[in-house]
């Protein structure tokens, strides 16, 4: 009788383990469906980039009593549109005006570049969710603040200096003339 009990228990145990293993091996399901990636457009350009950046920034924001905390990784560059630079020839000298910088700031494509760490509401039983529009607005403000930081930290000035140096040597090599690059 004792053996019968043990056998029944072992059979039940084996069945439970078997079902658990089978369940674990079954692939995870997802409610998300992906469309294929499509090329939206291709823009030809001639942009001299002298600074590339990659920076993690914390996101802290609130809408009324609702709070948002997360992290995003920004990436981008400081570039100069060479197609629209003003130039003037004076004898053997070529005078070129460095165009206004174009700062491109995007979210990085590196893994984990956007993380929502916490959302909460100060009010008891208040909703802690944020809509897509609210979330986008929070991100837009973070990026604007980052853009201002690039100017105040001197990165834009540094990019201009680098561009003047790089453009001078490049144009001199191509035109075989003395080149003066001016930034105002």
């Amino acid at each position: 009788m004792r053996y019968l009990k043990i056998t029944v228990l072992l059979v039940i145990l084996a069945a439970v383990v078997g079902v658990a293993m089978w369940w674990k091996q079954t692939p995870e399901y997802s409610r998300v469906r992906m469309e294929d990636a499509k090329i939206a457009d291709i823009t030809p350009m001639v942009s001299l980039c002298t600074i590339d950046f990659y920076q993690d920034v914390p996101i802290r924001a609130n809408k009324g009593s609702r709070h948002f905390f997360g992290k995003m990784t920004l990436t981008g560059s400081i570039g100069f549109d060479l197609e629209h630079m003003r130039q003037e020839s004076r004898g053997d000298t070529l005078k070129v005006w460095l165009p206004q910088e174009i700062i491109t700031i995007d979210e990085s494509t590196a893994e984990g570049s956007y993380k929502v760490i916490d959302t909460w509401n100060d009010k008891l039983l208040g909703k802690s969710g944020f809509t897509t529009a609210e979330e986008n607005e929070i991100k837009r403000k973070i990026m604007e603040s980052f853009r201002r930081g690039l100017y105040s930290s001197g990165q834009v000035a540094k990019a201009r200096r680098e561009a003047v140096e790089s453009l001078t040597s490049m144009l001199e090599a191509f035109t075989r003339r003395k080149v003066v690059v001016i930034y105002r």
């Binding site: 079954t26 995870e28 399901y29 992906m34 990636a37 980039c49 914390p58 997360g70």
Partner: protein
């Protein structure tokens, strides 16, 4: 006839169907012997759980905020926008392929209301030449034939970034269904990003079209730049094309 004795308190007998006889022998001493160790074990388990609750909590590794500003000398010649869309919808029983999916589809069917949404955003790729690899030796001028030959560095491609904002193309959450949270949107974006990178890396068409546009633009720009005194200009690129894509 098989007999299974189950000791449970005192006094009564039950007969099972199908030729199995259950004899329940209720006995106060036996019950005490069985219940007491179980109670002790449960108490011990509860105390252990309470004591270790704080210690065993899985802690997230501390996030390090990384920052890098790199001096580069890149001449970007083309930028490509690639759009990707994803939808969230309930699982359908007819489309369920596995037991897990079928289970989830069944639960979804019982929920009151709809939960559908579609999101999209653009990812940017760029093609550039690294001008730090360009030397005066890469320009050859033949004054006799009035020809200038320019040999530019190889065209490289890379992911430049993606839209920080996500476009909500469609949103319909009704009834008692929960709204789509920022956590879910971040997770969707992460999955879209991984899928897009795989698609771009596995399909050479993306890189080919971007590189072709860059080559055309680079040739036109440098031909114009080097075109002085009516010299004819020939622009070529070094062969080692490649990059992140």
């Amino acid at each position: 006839m098989r007999v299974i004795n189950i000791f449970w308190g005192s006094g009564s007998k039950l007969s099972g169907a199908g030729g199995v006889k259950f004899v329940m022998n209720f006995n106060a001493n036996n019950m005490k012997q069985i219940v007491q160790p179980i109670l002790h074990m449960l108490t011990l388990l509860l105390v252990t759980l309470l004591l270790t609750a704080g210690c065993t909590k899985k802690r997230e590794p501390a996030e390090l905020l990384f920052s890098e500003f790199k001096k580069v000398d890149k001449l970007v010649l083309a930028r490509m926008s690639v759009s990707k869309m994803a939808t969230i919808d309930d699982l359908k029983l007819s489309e369920a392929g596995t037991a897990k999916e079928a289970g989830a589809a069944l639960i979804d069917a019982l929920k009151i209301g709809n939960r559908k949404a579609a999101y999209s955003y653009n990812t940017y790729l760029r093609a550039y030449v690294d001008m730090s690899e360009f030397t005066p030796d890469d320009i050859y001028v033949d004054d006799d034939t009035r020809v200038i030959e320019v040999r530019l560095p190889a065209i490289q491609t890379e992911f430049a970034g993606r839209d920080a904002a996500i476009k909500e193309e469609h949103y319909r959450v009704t009834g008692l269904r929960s709204s789509i949270s920022p956590y879910e949107r971040a997770d969707i974006k992460e999955r879209m990003n991984a899928a897009l990178k795989k698609e771009v890396e596995n399909n050479p068409e993306f890189s080919r079209r971007l590189t072709a546009a860059a080559r055309l633009k680079g040739s036109a720009f440098f031909s114009k730049l080097a075109d002085i005194d009516g010299y004819s200009v020939s622009v070529s690129f070094k062969n080692k094309e490649g990059g992140a894509l």
